[in-house]
Amino acid sequence: MALMDLANPTRFLALAGRVLPWLALASAVLLAIGFWLAFQAPADYQQGETVRIMYIHVPFAWLAMLGYSLLALSALGILVWRHPLADVSHKALAPIGAVFAFLCLVTGSLWGRPMWGTYWVWDARLTSMLVLLLLYLGLIALRSAIEDPNQAGRAAAVLTLVGFVNVPIVKFSVDWWNTLHQPASVFRMDGPTIHPSLLWPLLLTAAGFTGLMLTLHLAAMRNEILRRRLRNLEARAAAEAAYA
């Protein structure tokens, strides 16, 4: 099936209906195995048992950035190809990405209190992640503030692309500035610095949460496509009633 065929909303609905149950099941299995291994893994020599929070905090951080990158791709789809499915994807993904960014900040704070002695510091990594959450919330607010859906979609797409500059800042903030937040320990040029007994559970929970995000995104996209159909039908019914 060609990529453009999948961009057809009706074919997309049929495909989503077939894929969603399997994607949800795969996510649940990956998360179950990942968490089982995570709680079997030894405690970290510095963090102690608090390292268990990393198995959720780190995937949430990755997915907050991945979500925004997918939003930027959808924004390109809106502005360059003007495809309605890109707008559907963008609108459906913003609240999901916001949730992952929010959970990243909350779980990070709950890890920071016992490890750093504080829930929050205005360091570059934490601040740029907070900016990412505010960008997500701003996109949701912007769509709500503009009545015309097409205009709202284009405005949100422009803001998304402008805000995308923050994604590399989040990623490289720990390299560019002196931060309390530790530098990257998985995605590094010289390979991960985490022992495999801790790394594998982390990769499995990350894969499981990625599957969960995709599952929620597909389900929300399906809702949005059906909502637009319902809106069109309601408008047509109202118009017919007015002429009758």
């Binding site: 009706t10 608090t50 929070i53 959720i56 309605p84 609240p95 779980t107 890890w111 069109n232």
Partner: protein, 56 residues
């Protein structure tokens, strides 16, 4: 889970609650939209392009 158990439990509990609420919100939203479409169908209002796969 040691002396910091409350922080670990809180992190997992908040995550489960928020993700659960998000999943529930999406599921309920889907149900509401489908109910609306079923109502329109019952009133005899159908998509002109239903089945041809061209309309969003």
């Amino acid at each position: 889970m040691g002396e910091h158990a409350s922080f670990i439990i809180a992190a997992y509990a908040v995550s489960a609650a928020v993700l659960g609420a998000l999943a529930l919100w999406i599921a309920l939203d889907g149900r509401a939209v489908r109910a609306g479409l079923a109502e329109m169908e019952a009133r005899g209002v159908r998509r002109r392009s239903a089945g041809d796969g061209t309309a969003p």
